[in-house]
Amino acid sequence: MTMTTLTHTDTGWRLFLRTIVARAYPRIIGQQREKSWIFFETFLPFIATCGYVFVYRAMNAPEDYIGFVIVGGAMTAFWMNVMWSMSAQMYWEKENGNLALYIMAPNNMMAILLGMAIGGMFATTLRAIVIIVLGSWFFQVHFAIASFVQLFAVFMLTLTALYGLGMVFASLFLLFGRDAWQVVSLFQEPVYFLSGFYFPVKSFGFAVALIASVLPLTLGMDAMRQLSFASGPTLGFISVEIEIVGLMILSVMFIALAKYALSVIERKAIEEGTLTDRRR
């Protein structure tokens, strides 16, 4: 009897790409199979979005503000995905005992993070589209798209920068113990506030809005609102062109930072041998 050994000899970029595909696969396919995830990850942001829409209705706000909330509500799906399924993912893997396997495997950790990001982006985009469609239908939102090309560019750059930030957090969260849970929780309302999920960041004034722009969603949502609604440009923080440049800088910065953070964490893991210790 002959024994067949299943091995592959991919190295370098081929192994890197295979790892990305392998890690993205469960995010795209697995999440669609988990019906309750689809329901809750769409339902919860949508419920919160409806709440804020009704607040604006109670204040007799202009109709475009309803649209602002719908866009913000759709983007919360991405932030939740980045925080719970990207940043805290390595922490979960440590809790479940999988992290040691990731580290022992011959693939690159950066490729694993990229795979998680690409898979998460795709799966969450489907949920965000559902929120936009349902919200627009329920609340009769009128879009006035100024430029589809710019809107697409802003959306893609926002996601690139956002998931780059998620990759940085994923590395940093490996250092956390029981506090990881609280840190994720801490990054919800304050980020919703600072990024202007439900109101234009112009309300902050220039200096505060500029500081808040270190979060990719601040610039991304401001640009998307400017490009999607008639009153958007008058309520925008800075011009869309500058925001696109800002998002490009954030994208490069966060991905480079993620690579650096990961190398530091891996070195620490080798030196201290405590990285996969879930008792901390």
Binding site: V55, L194, S203
Partner: protein, 283 residues
């Protein structure tokens, strides 16, 4: 009874407080306790400032601010019941030991709720203080109807605790995505209970849901006790006297007490039969 409290309630309350607070040093814990509720309410303050030409003394402003502040208790006490069970079962994997210990499980859950009530109270206090100091919420400590406030708080928190026990015990029987349950129920109540907008703003078909929620009456009583006549600017519950609101809230609380008692026995049996006491949902 006293022995049960000594052996179950107080250790559970102390354990809950340790879980809630000792994950970091006291300084970071205070920062955490301040940032979350303040950020949450600042979203609404900035939404209001972005669109409203009215000043902060407009009734809708206080309505939104106070509703959002006191809704913190719903997340802390009610949804907390679900998180307590999941924390013990899945994160610390200690629920199986708690179950075989000679303690009273419902009293243990009540004890855990106390810790969440304390952290919730800290958050509510910070939010209200910030409202008075920085956001022009028209609260005057001399004009508060303390008897009404304390009575409403006792009834409301009791109701939330009973709801938390129902939710917690239901969570115990779930294997798929149990983490979402507390959040989903809290989110639904946020929408339908008129926490941040009068329920008359809801589509007509959805308004009856708001009228069967205990939080609707509880938050109205809280607003009336804090604002006095200023709370009567919205017609939703204007037709109800304070006594009627207390009566409705009391009946709903009693009903949830009975439901909690039944739910505890039912879900406890289901969980034991299905081997869910030490289950892992592979979060």
């Amino acid at each position: 009874m006293l022995k049960t409290f000594r052996n179950t309630f107080f250790p559970a309350a102390w354990l809950g407080w340790q879980i809630e607070s000792n994950w970091t040093d006291p300084f970071l814990f205070i920062i955490f306790s301040i940032l979350k509720p303040i950020a949450s309410v600042m979203i609404l303050v900035f939404m209001y400032n972005a669109v409203s030409r009215n000043a902060a003394d407009s009734p809708i402003y206080s309505y939104i601010y106070l509703g959002n502040a006191f809704y913190i208790y719903v997340g802390a006490v009610m949804a907390g019941g679900s998180y307590s069970i999941l924390d013990d079962r899945e994160r610390y994997r200690s629920l199986k030991y708690i179950y075989i210990a000679p303690i009273n499980i419902p009293i243990y859950l009540l004890g855990r709720a106390v810790a969440r009530f304390i952290t919730g109270t800290i958050a509510v206090f910070i939010t209200l203080s910030a409202g008075v100091l920085f956001f022009k919420v028209p609260l005057n400590i001399l004009n508060i109807n303390w008897l009404m406030l304390i009575s409403a708080m006792i009834l409301g928190v009791a109701c939330l605790t009973f709801m938390g026990i129902v939710l917690g015990m239901w969570t115990l029987t779930l294997r798929t995505e149990p983490w979402f349950i507390g959040e989903a129920v809290a989110a639904a109540l946020y929408l339908f209970s008129g926490a941040i907008f009068p329920i008359t703003i809801l589509p007509t078909i959805l308004q009856p849901i708001g009228f069967i929620m205990p939080m609707t009456y509880w938050l109205e009583l809280i607003r009336r006790s804090l604002l006095g006549s200023g709370a009567a600017a919205f017609p939703t519950l204007a037709g109800f006297s304070d006594i009627q609101l207390f009566g409705i809230l009391g009946i709903i609380t009693l009903a949830f007490g009975l439901i909690a008692s039944f739910a505890y026995r039912f879900f406890d049996k289901v969980a034991r039969d299905n081997g869910m006491i030490d289950a892992q949902s592979n979060f």
